[in-house]
Symmetry: D2
Subunit: 331 residues, 4 copies
């Protein structure tokens, strides 16, 4: 039995997910929905499926699940509608920029018993997964300190910043989820600093472009996050976990790994230019995991609740910066 | 206009090429041929094309080119038949294990003016290509010394060795081509040592499992090749080019690049397990290059002649080991 | 004119400094003072100088400078006495565990116009110096974020902890100085978390063994420090500075840098076992810099004031942990 | 009982050895001999010993051993004279540029039962020693293939080349010894290519500046050596040993190991500039080993015979290049 999927949103990430479905024999893309008819048609042509509408997808009993890649402000509504329609749901992060809206959405998810997976793609990066596996296998003993370095190659345009929800909800949110994925305990306290060092335009919009954070768990485990909207050397994505018996780390990835030696020294090329090339394997693996869980009727992970918690951490971080104090999370 | 291709040989590498064609919008697989009906059918199903025969492919005017992945002893015959039929040809290396047979085949290729590309996939590895690009851009000045390390993870079964043509025609042949790709001058002299250090069964078949070679060009440029049929740490594939202004190298690749630190030290995982995972991108890129050249009517490279020269170098190496002397190649 | 020096304190670090003086032609050790007669005699024998007393050193007009390696609680007194005696002073960090005592000592230093250098040896590590040089040369543009990882191989005995002044005054103090060395702006705000994850005995003494800190400067530059009293893989000492044009980092050092590859992967040996082997070159270079400055009558750096500021940062960190809030430093 | 040593030759390497003796409590330099009175006096002053003559050293019953750092053409004569005088001898490589002269010298060594150690300093490099230790501990199983890369930063002046004995006796000789140190079997066959790619002046003197060699042992173990008189990126000194269970390698060393990342990529500084800085620890360790063996009356290693064998391999390599054939060594 092939799992039949509909794609909502035919933009850049929608194409990536369509391709992932195309290479997976267990699933088939049967419908594409997008306000931009051309974009929807292009994916439909390449996948050999039809262009459709949200209502039609909801009404179609043959469709098992949906992949939501629409703009952020539609996520919560769509999750609720498809939850009520009994479809399995994969939704890009975040659920919503507003915690209360996300919480309400989660309530619908709980009531309907819907299966929802949030697109925290980095959990599926083979290198980061291997870090987690090493932890699970006891290779480093008890986790004590997590260090996450996450820097974009360059600042986004002001238009993006305006609707992004700010650095913590847009960028750090991935690192909050990664910290939770690695710490093995819930975070109870957040401290964040934020500064405008890269682009004044970002500051004028009330946002930050450089941030440092410390997260702590109940037993005292600590995670440090370093964020910047600019890294001349490429998309900087590193994690390191220090434990009682040792340490495990995942270094940066680059598309080409030659080294040129001359009188200036030894030079390796810059890193990947951004997430589309850096996390290619992760995007494919998360869709594969979604298909796998839907096929088996298994629980989806990361869940909608994971999405809510990451959002709460982002809110806490913002409050920490604005109020200049440590913020505790309600247990 | 989509380039229509037929696949001859539905084995492991045939599947890889079929997948590469499937993801390339400029081409379409229209026929699959294999003595094993099931294997052919499986690829045909997945590609949405028909199972066919060699004769039918030859007779079909709509087919622009063929991908030959059949056993080595059929390569020369098939190249000749498709050359006469006016098809563009991609053929896995080698043309034949016998230089004279390969030479005769090349004669037919010349007479028919056929376009033939040999499957020296490593030329399309992104890291090795970047090495060559650095040379072409003058980053290391004049090439002086090339070092190639090429070790299989473990020895093949005796059945494989028997039909392989020996280590130089089977394994080193890739390194001969890579040396030529990087040296920028034709090789005029070959010295090789061969020993049986890994597996006595290989020696009993008259073959070697460990070899060191020095190749020299007319102006004195030198290439060193180190081959072994066993490397406990994975598929060892490295190149380094030293020139008048510097050096460029491509290190080994591994599927997962974490590092675990503990009281034993700092450990990174083993390398790729073999060529199918190590050269995934190279296989896709070579088929893409084939399609590109066929579409544009451009010359194919690496050519059938590149295939013949690599074979001649393999023969020279074998003679060098057997006679214990340096072997010069006819200019 | 050879600079004549006296050594106060003939313990482990005293021996290191005596050796550094012995290999420097510009200076000569002429007196050693220690309550332990045997220890003093051993160094005196090897240096070819006499065992002496503090009073005698003060009274000797031929002695240009002193190296103070006595227990911490004697530093401030000795600095004051030698300052009044007009000797150039090199003193191991810290000036005192108590900020007020240190401040009073500094007042004497100012009044006497004495030249005092504090033993923040890491500033003289060739790798860290090269990081600073790269910054000074504009290689990374404006400094934005500093990351310091500093982990001891294992927790010290309870006896040491008792007199250490706690992790911030004993261990992090080096990192505070390094952060200042690299940030290029004074730190105005400190946030620290502290936990007992390594050794309960440390917690029972009211100290912490694991700490994460964020330091910020007026313009928003950020430094993150990660401290642990345990690292199974050796003495973990790394710095990284991210700026507007790039990043510069100094990785860990190891005494032997081979790599063994086998079916388990690729393994390099553990790091240096602790500061005596890790910072060998730094210890020699700081004494050389002291001799150099004394000879030339130049200002000494890092200064007593640098010592005081590091101590104030340590106090701020402790307050931050204890009160669970951000601590601002008086401008 | 302190071992009393005399130094013959007060040049660059003589100074290095004098310094090594000065830091070793078990030995004392008591005499320095050099035709250049100033050079001898400088070392004597710094070591606190006297300037002397060869005859006086021979006649002095208090002197236990000599360190010979005089020009190559005096080595054999001095070894013979000090051997007859019953002194322990450390002599820089080579014994002589002429194999017959070296053989005759060795005969005197044998007859007198003198203890002679040859200055193959690289055996004492901590990284290379760790490679050998890993082999001895069985970490890589049976040794199969050794790869040595050895490149000078730049070509020496013509005056040096003239008296050097050529690249194989001057430069490769260290690699021959290293190959023997690592192979664990005697070399029975040598193949070498030589070319002039770097400096025509070297070719005009009948020498080569670029060479590739393959050495084989009786059981088929293989060593490859790559030599060049130029490497823009510094003094290139690497070894790698591949065995039945794995591989062990020692990478290049650099004085400063920072990394700068910017839009051009990730750059580490060049390597050490030459042997004086690259092999600092090795020089100290070899003198320490000499002192240790003399003190204990133990056999010296590497021995004069090791020196002779390396020279024979150099001669075989030269013959191989000149005659264009493989050269077998008399068992």
């Amino acid at each position: 039995m092939v799992t039949k999927l509909a794609l909502l949103g035919a933009g850049r990430i929608g194409k990536v997910h369509a391709r992932a479905i195309a290479t997976d024999k267990r699933a088939k893309l049967v419908a594409v929905v997008d306000a931009m008819a051309d974009a929807a048609q292009a994916i439909a042509d390449s996948a050999g499926c039809k262009v459709s509408t949200i209502d039609a997808v909801i009404a179609d009993p043959d469709i098992d699940g949906v992949i939501i890649c629409t703009p952020t402000n539609t996520h919560a509504d769509l999750i609720e509608r498809f939850a009520k329609a009994g479809k399995a749901i994969f939704c890009e992060k975040p659920i919503d920029l507003d915690v209360e809206r996300a919480r309400a959405c989660l309530e619908v998810v709980r009531q309907t018993g819907a299966k929802v997976m949030l697109g925290f793609n980095r959990r599926f990066d083979p290198h980061f997964r291997a870090v987690r596996k090493a932890i699970d296998e006891g290779k480093i003993g008890t986790v004590e300190m997590v260090t996450i370095t996450s820097r974009d190659p360059g600042p986004p345009p002001a238009e993006y910043i305006k609707v992004s929800g700010g650095i913590f909800r847009d960028m750090t949110i991935h690192d909050f989820d990664m910290a939770r994925f690695l710490l093995g305990e819930e975070i109870v306290q957040v401290f964040a600093t934020g500064a405008v060092l890269v682009d004044k335009a970002i500051g004028e919009l009330g946002d930050y472009d450089s941030a440092s954070l410390i997260l702590t768990t109940k037993s005292g485990r600590q995670a440090m996050i370093s964020n910047s909207r600019r890294a001349s050397y490429g998309y900087d994505q590193r994690i390191e976990v220090h434990g009682s018996l040792g340490s495990v780390s995942a270094e940066n990835q680059r598309p080409v790994s030659i080294e040129i030696a001359n009188k200036e020294g030894y030079t390796r090329p810059p890193l990947h230019d951004f997430f589309m090339t850096r996390y290619t394997e992760a995007y494919a693996a998360e869709i594969s995991a979604f298909i796998d869980s839907v096929e088996k009727g298994a629980a989806l992970s990361p869940s909608a609740e994971d999405g809510l918690i990451a959002l709460q951490l982002a809110d806490a971080a913002l409050r920490s910066v604005r109020e200049g104090k440590v913020v505790s999370l309600a247990g």
